[in-house]
């Protein structure tokens, strides 16, 4: 950390400091923010693979347990990227200590970059941890590492941005909980973490195609197996488009001072 501290130029020091603070904030409570989502994902893996292994096969020559792992990694990565920016913002708004950032010369863009980058770090750290534990138990190929990386990066960026929007918008913890339970959770569970959308009735297949989480998970899984429900190019396009729209919205909110400055 000290080495990086010295390398950062003065111009970037403000942004870097906020990023560093946001990373340390979750790292200080890593049991809750990293270890516990990893454990949850492994429990899913244990239960679902035990119950469904041998009964369900989604792709040829891909055991269900292996199929499940990229979905679980992506699910945890997305949820944690969202949780990082949203919980940091809502906490510091409720506690009042967001004022320490609002009093500084940091621009709205620097604010956005720092919160976003910290969310990406947390998302990828959780995802990578699950991967590193899971490969002890399951044989998992990696066919296209670049696709894996691209979807991990854009997915965590998308949810980190979404978390910024939710964190700015929400005034109370229960509003944030509603956001998490009524938006994030359904979108994740109905996205193909546990199944291929081809196994769904046509109506639900169509519905799934309106869910951005489906594209992130399908594209991410494509990186491991070289197979997916749709082309990764389409998926990456959809994810990038969603990211652009949400980033535009988040920046607009931050620039106007919405719910942060009166």
């Amino acid at each position: 950390m000290i080495l990086i501290d010295n390398l950062v130029s003065q111009q970037w020091r403000g942004t870097y400091t906020l990023f560093k603070k946001e990373v340390l904030r979750f790292w200080r409570v890593a049991f809750q923010t990293v270890a516990s989502p990893v454990l949850t994902a492994l429990l899913y893996l244990l239960i679902f693979s035990h119950v469904l292994q041998g009964h369900v096969q989604v792709y040829k020559n891909v055991p269900y347990t292996a199929f499940l792992i990229p979905g679980l990694i992506m699910m945890s990565l997305l949820q944690n990227a969202f949780a990082n920016s949203s919980s940091s913002l809502i906490q510091s708004k409720v506690m009042g200590n967001i004022i320490f950032i609002l009093l500084t010369p940091l621009t709205y863009l620097q604010f956005f970059i720092a919160f976003l980058a910290a969310s990406i770090v947390r998302g990828i750290m959780v995802g990578l941890s699950i991967y590193l534990v899971a490969i002890w138990f399951v044989d998992l190929p990696i066919v296209h590492p670049l696709w894996i990386f691209a979807f991990a990066l854009l997915g965590s960026a998308l949810l980190g941005t979404f978390g910024i929007i939710a964190g700015i918008w929400a005034d109370k913890f229960d509003q944030m909980a509603a956001f998490q339970n009524f938006v994030i959770m359904p979108l994740t569970f109905l996205s193909g973490v546990f199944y291929s959308i081809h196994s769904l009735p046509p109506f639900w297949q169509t519905v799934s195609k309106f869910n951005p989480f489906f594209y992130m998970i399908d594209g991410f899984r494509y990186g491991f197996f070289g197979k997916g429900d749709i082309s990764p190019w389409i998926s990456i396009g959809v994810v990038a488009a969603f990211l652009l729209v949400l980033a535009w919205l988040a920046l607009k909110m931050l620039k106007s001072g919405y719910r942060l400055r009166g």
């Binding site: 010295n6 403000g14 200080r28 320490f100 609002l102 009093l103």
Partner: protein, 301 residues
């Protein structure tokens, strides 16, 4: 001429129908020790929040050391340190970490660490430098809050009710520290409810009422012009003559305090008492304080 530390020109702030600030004009020079007084809801905090960039003025201009707080907000915030009124803190970090982060947001790096340590020491926080903010007592949190405002070494420092709920000992210590900052050249602006503090510390005072400045002068002038003297009379069982009632400030158990705006009023009071054949058991003449000025300007009278 040097640029003023703070320049506020015709600032209005409306929250819906509420006109929180109604055309404030105020210039504070570099090196001043300035107090902003007023009852709750007078608009002091609104004005400070505009200064700090937490609120935007509906109308008007505000600058800090010549930098507009809206158009040139980065430069304005660089030269301003604000101590918020509420005891807010970040529960994840210790005192030294928080101060280093705070300096970092302003673009300051390791070269600033010596200053951070100096602030920690001067505020008596050395023993607590590695204590988590969450575990600090109220008084220590208040000190840490002041330290945070100073972390980037701003020339202009605003303290919003810094001694609210602080015990006497800490209050003395804080004022000693703030006076030292002022001697070192920092401009100090504070809001306070403790009028005797403003009286002993500040060269100039602005009094606010309902979003307007109702008095702006040196502390000495305000005391001289508006306060006059107080006369305390002990009259035993006698009742104060009705002719003296307009001068009455307070009275109970036969002890009356009259406000004298002119010295020759003393003669008038005595003659009225003589006329009414009232015996004076005891009499005391004393200088009015800022509280009297304050009450006469913003009180409900």
């Amino acid at each position: 001429m040097t640029v003023p530390a703070i320049k506020i020109e015709q600032v209005h702030k409306r929250f819906g129908n509420l006109h929180a600030l109604n055309g404030i004009d105020l210039t504070i020079n570099q090196g001043e020790f300035f107090a902003l007084l007023g009852p709750n809801g007078a608009g002091k905090s609104t004005l400070i929040n505009i200064l700090a960039g937490l609120l935007k003025p509906t109308q008007g201009k505000v600058s800090v050391m010549g930098h507009d707080v809206v158009d040139d907000y980065q430069a304005a915030r660089m030269v301003l340190g604000v101590v918020p009124q509420e005891l807010v803190f970040d529960p994840f970090f210790n005192v030294r970490e928080m101060l280093r982060f705070q300096a970092g947001y302003f673009g300051r790096g390791r070269e600033n660490d010596a200053w951070v340590d100096e602030v920690i020491e001067n505020l008596g926080l050395t023993d607590k430098a590695h204590t988590n903010m969450r575990k600090l007592s109220g008084g220590m949190k208040r000190r840490a809050l002041i330290a945070q405002a100073l972390a980037h070494k701003p020339p202009v420092i605003v303290l919003d009710e810094p001694t609210a709920g602080v015990d006497v000992e800490l209050r003395q210590m804080l004022w000693g520290f703030i006076k030292q900052l002022n001697r070192d050249g920092h401009t100090i602006i504070l809001t306070t409810h403790y009028l005797e503090e403003a009286e002993t510390l500040c060269e100039r005072v602005a009094m606010m009422k309902q979003g307007e400045i109702v008095a702006l002068d040196t502390t000495a002038n305000l005391l001289e012009k508006l306060a006059g003297k107080n006369l305390r009379l002990k009259l035993g069982n006698a009742v104060l003559p009705t002719t003296l009632l307009p001068m009455l400030k307070s009275g109970e158990n036969g002890v009356y305090t009259l406000a004298l705006t002119e010295p020759n009023q003393l003669e008038y009071v005595l003659s009225e008492l003589r006329k009414a054949k009232i015996n004076i058991e005891d009499m005391q003449l004393f200088e009015a304080d800022l509280e009297d000025v304050f009450m006469s300007l913003v009180g409900s009278k």
